[in-house]
Amino acid sequence: MTRVLFLCILALAACKQDMVDQAKDKAYSASSVWDDGASARPFVAGTVARGDLARMAAVQQPPEVDAALLARGQERYGIFCAPCHGLTGRGDGRVVQRGFPAPPDYLSDRLRAAPAEHFMEVIANGYGVMFPYGARVAPRDRWAIVAYIRALQLADGEVTRGHPARDAVPVGGGR
């Protein structure tokens, strides 16, 4: 009898779903502890995060340019820059086609002559209507993007409209 009763209690215990929603804070958890209702707290002023010094050093120190860095730059450029600057750097990306003010042409004489640090600075802090990307693109990736911009500037700047290289093809094609 005791055994049967014990099994019944065990069976009931298995129905409890407490562990599905545990009393712990995870990323993006809501919290009733603070006024803003979020468990994630803003940084205290002057916080130095782990790896900040290395990141600051990486801004100063350009990495060795090799095929891997350029490939990384091409990928990051495609994600973060091409929506406005276009796949060839002409400043005719999809978002610009939809009405965003056109950014300057990377292939212009002014930007061909601009030092790499200028692009690093603009990526990190923004320029004009361009928002800062410092929080979204890590320093090494910024250098990779700058290297890729240089590659775009070296490539054929006179690619005509309709050339495949100019198509701001949305991922997934024209479906």
């Binding site: 990323a27 994600i79 999809r94 979204r136 479906r175």
Partner: protein
């Protein structure tokens, strides 16, 4: 002496004996069906959001990469919900008067965060990691479905342990080539050979994938 049992007693007791088996078995079966139903798993449920954000518009129509907004997806367990700043990167200039975006502008001006509602909610004892799945060649759409078709975001997978394990037991056919990992549409049907080739390309050791500790701690 009168008969204690009526003539129908035999039938009744037979039915009762049968019910004694059928009712528990049926209850268990019904329970299993209910637990896998969309009602319990949340599958295909469109969660109400503070802003009517369309993944279809931003990915398939404009061609913005998933990582533009979900920028920590390759390096972190969490894909990352973009801060209002990311929305305002474009919407400081585009659709600046749209009513639909009023909550975004309000959030930007006041500095209070937008409270997006979670669409995919795993139990707290599951330690899912986005970055490890991407490094292993699982495309966004493999779990999230054709995001490029979703005007409003919904959960496509049942997210049951059975569903997780169906892939952990045989991941090959669910992997995608590197070039298509972030496509907003799934690539259709891969052959077994392609699956094997992808397992080798991503260097996946399948031996530990069904260990309890792979997902639970």
């Amino acid at each position: 002496m009168a008969q204690i049992f009526h003539a129908r007693a035999n039938t009744i007791i037979r039915i009762c004996l049968a019910l004694l088996l059928i009712v528990p078995a049926g209850t268990v079966a019904a329970w299993m069906v209910v637990m896998r139903s969309d009602y319990v798993t949340g599958r295909n449920e469109t969660v109400t959001q503070p802003v009517m954000f369309s993944h279809r518009h931003h990915t398939a129509e404009i061609g913005i990469d998933c990582r533009y907004c979900h920028s920590s997806v390759e390096d972190s367990a969490f894909a990352g919900i973009p801060p209002t700043e990311t929305c305002m990167t474009c919407h400081s200039q585009l659709f600046t008067e749209a009513d639909m975006l009023a909550p975004v502008r309000q959030s930007w001006v006041s500095g209070t965060r937008l409270n997006w509602n979670r669409v995919h909610d795993l139990p707290d004892y599951v330690y899912f990691n986005h970055s490890v799945h991407l490094a292993g060649g699982v495309a966004c759409t493999t779990c999230h479905g054709a995001v490029g078709e979703m005007r409003l975001t919904r959960q496509v997978a049942p997210l049951t342990m059975e569903w997780c394990l169906s892939c952990h037991r045989a991941p090959g056919k669910n992997l995608s080539p590197r070039a298509t990992l972030y496509d907003p549409f799934p690539t259709e049907g891969k052959s077994a050979e392609e699956g094997h080739a992808l397992l080798a390309e991503y260097g996946i050791d399948t031996s530990g994938l069904t260990d309890c500790s792979a997902c639970h701690r």
